[in-house]
């Protein structure tokens, strides 16, 4: 195991991990309404070149975590606690200008929806050039040349023509390729991909994932892959953090996690993936209930209302994230055996 879930002592030095998220909490406050804690004391770290997955359903706090790391949450009505250290520097407390020079150059992000994440009124070439001009000190003509090169690299045919086109002239898959080209333009050391394939259809999804994997592996870029799809994580990530209701419930290296999920939620996610070899007509195995049926963490385990393994203590005691062997687990009554239907 390359990251340490328990000891945080060595973080903060340049010898530590590339990105270290420690006790990150994000609370949305609105006058007249109860505070919503979207991210609750989340800790994880990413070594240089490592690929880490953040997995969970909608509303589990994955995207808010990524926005908090990037410093992209609105200032009003949001309070962010904890520390996010990038290469020894605290991202949350550094001046806005300093953080702005890191964004795009050192840390880049790919967003979920390629249909809306490109500016509709300027050409895709211009949108790539902008980043290069901002961060690399390239001249206009160098940037233009590099933009074409980048488009070719992400598998867009005829890049000299495509740079002059507008986003609406490209298909969804192409646009996501452009967004990948933009985010990797300055060869960042860390790439955060927030559900980069969710808005695409399945065949394009596979292509984009393959491309992303190839590019980050070639350049040695560390990757934080945020997804609700364990299938995406399976082929890509060294380490996986499963989130539920704002907290990490299970952290483990990929193989043990898939072979032997310990948290009932992880088990449920794995069991819910349809399998090619299951008999025709076999019903899918959903996790019962919806992400709305949660218990506040203060009153027990948030997953208890939907958990198949629930015991009395689950609704009385708040489970803590405990190291168990090579993983960390937040569960009072973990699974001991792989549930039926889990991926091997």
């Amino acid at each position: 195991m390359t990251t340490t879930m328990t000891s945080r002592a060595e973080s903060g030095t340049s010898k530590g991990p590339l990105l270290d998220v420690d006790n990150l909490s994000v609370t949305f406050t609105r006058r007249g309404q109860r505070d919503v804690r979207a991210v609750d004391e989340v800790s994880f770290s990413v070594e240089a070149g490592q690929h880490v997955g953040l997995v969970g359903e909608s509303g589990s706090g994955k995207s808010v975590t990524s926005l908090a790391i990037m410093g992209l949450l609105p200032k009003r009505g949001v309070s962010v606690d904890g520390t996010v250290t990038y290469a020894g520097e605290d991202l949350l407390t550094m001046p806005r200008k300093t953080r702005n020079t890191l964004r795009g150059r050192e840390i880049a992000m790919i967003f979920q929806d390629p249909m809306t994440s490109l500016n509709p009124v300027i050409t895709v070439g211009m949108q790539i050039e902008e980043v290069l001009l901002r961060h690399t000190g390239a001249s206009k003509s160098q940037a233009r040349e590099r933009a074409q090169h980048l488009l070719a690299r992400v598998g867009i045919p005829d890049p000299s023509r495509r740079v002059k086109e507008y986003p609406h002239q490209l298909s969804g898959g192409m646009r996501q390729r452009v967004l990948i080209a933009i985010s990797l333009a300055c060869e960042p050391r860390l790439l955060i991909a927030d559900e980069p394939t969710t808005a695409l259809d399945v065949t394009i999804q596979a292509q984009i994932l393959e491309l992303l994997k190839e590019l980050v592996t070639d350049t040695g870029t560390a990757l934080v892959m945020i997804t609700h799809d364990l299938g995406v994580v399976a082929g890509l990530c060294d380490e996986v953090h499963v989130m539920y209701s704002g907290r990490v419930v299970e952290s483990a290296p990929r193989r043990p996690l898939f072979a032997e999920p310990r948290h009932p939620y992880t088990g449920g996610l794995l069991a819910s993936i349809p399998r090619l070899d299951s008999a025709r007509g076999t019903p899918l195995t959903p996790i019962s209930g919806s992400p709305n049926d949660t218990l506040p963490w203060a009153e027990g385990c948030a997953f208890a209302p939907r958990c198949g393994n629930v015991i009395n203590r689950c609704t009385q005691l708040t489970p803590t994230l405990e190291p168990v062997g090579d993983r960390a687990l937040r569960c009072l009554n973990p699974l001991s055996d792989p549930p039926p239907g889990a991926a091997q």
Binding site: N100, R103, L118, N119, V131, R134, P157, L170, G173
Partner: protein, 308 residues
């Protein structure tokens, strides 16, 4: 690397022509809807005719402007009505009415367009600064705009025109400045809403400078409603030109044909020749209607709620 099969061409063919295409360029989609709107066609036709008449006035007009060679045909007791020589009769000062109306279009167009352009430019500048910088600057500018908005624009224009003296330039500045608050407010509003869009978030995630984000991402996408407002304001501006001229605040040169002033001069003979005031009135109304129809149709076409 295999090429994705969903090229934009194939996607376009599968869709109904009326269906909004995701991520389709704002202007392209709007233009598509605009072409199918009868309101837009009528408005555009009126505007085109008006501009055509104004531009080619010397070629279209049957006589020299302000020639006053038929003064005997306009007396307090008799005003010549339509004849084959003078299709719309003779005006108060003894010139050909049709000629004067045709040249009047020039005056309305020039003052209307220039003043709206002044208003648009100044308003856009104020709106961009307020929406782009935000914070205290935004608050101060917008409160000032609120104050200006609370004064009826015609009243504001009258005050400015009265202060600047009688000239076409004064008229343009007066009407232009009176439009600033509308444009400023509108542009700031759409910039604020664009600031929350995904591509602005993406641009911020790339660490682009705020200036770049505002000027190349937020502003160009926010201009739509403001441009539409400019079309609508052209109608108001043309009415205001006429109104200020009617009140005697326009150009002092009597040789310049101006619809508003033609109404005033027509009033003197209103009892025996009501058409003297009627014709320029119709011209003002139809032109304003044309710009309003076109502007309204554009506004509807650009409305995101119309995109299904």
């Amino acid at each position: 690397m295999t090429v994705p099969t969903d090229t934009p061409e194939s996607l376009g063919q599968e869709r109904e022509p009326g269906e909004g295409q995701p991520g389709e360029s704002l202007w392209r989609g709007a233009f598509r809807r605009l072409r199918r709107s009868p309101m837009a066609i009528i408005g555009a036709a009126i505007v085109a005719a008006f501009v055509f008449v104004a531009v080619f006035a010397p070629l279209l007009a049957p006589y020299e402007p302000a020639s006053t060679q038929w003064t005997e045909l306009s007396t307090p007791f008799f005003v010549q009505g339509p004849t084959s020589d003078h299709l719309l009769g003779i005006d108060r000062w003894g010139s050909d009415m049709l000629t004067q109306l045709i040249f009047g279009a020039r005056q309305s167009l020039v003052i209307g367009v220039v003043s709206t352009f002044i208003g648009l430019a100044l308003g856009a500048a104020v709106g961009t600064i307020a929406g782009g910088v935000g914070g205290v600057v935004d608050t101060v500018l917008m409160r000032f705009v609120d104050i200006l908005l609370s004064i009826p624009s015609l009243l504001l224009a009258i005050s400015i025109a009265a202060a600047l003296g009688k000239s076409s330039i004064a008229l343009m500045i007066a009407i232009g400045v009176a439009q600033v608050p509308i444009f400023a407010r509108l542009l700031r509003g759409s910039m604020l809403s664009q600031s929350r869009s995904d591509y602005v978030l993406a641009a911020n995630a790339l660490g682009l400078r705020r200036r770049t984000v505002v000027m190349s991402h937020v502003l160009p996408n926010s201009l739509g409603p403001t441009i539409v407002q400019a079309t609508l304001n052209l109608a108001t501006a043309i009415i205001e030109v006429a109104a200020l001229s009617f009140l005697g605040l326009g150009t002092a040169d009597p040789a310049v044909a101006e619809w508003g002033r033609m109404i005033v001069s027509g009033q003197a003979r209103f009892q025996i020749a009501p058409w003297l005031a009627f014709y320029p009135g119709v011209c003002i109304a139809v032109t304003a209607l044309g710009f309003t129809l076109l502007g309204e149709a554009m506004r509807e076409a650009l409305d995101p709620k119309q995109r299904r």
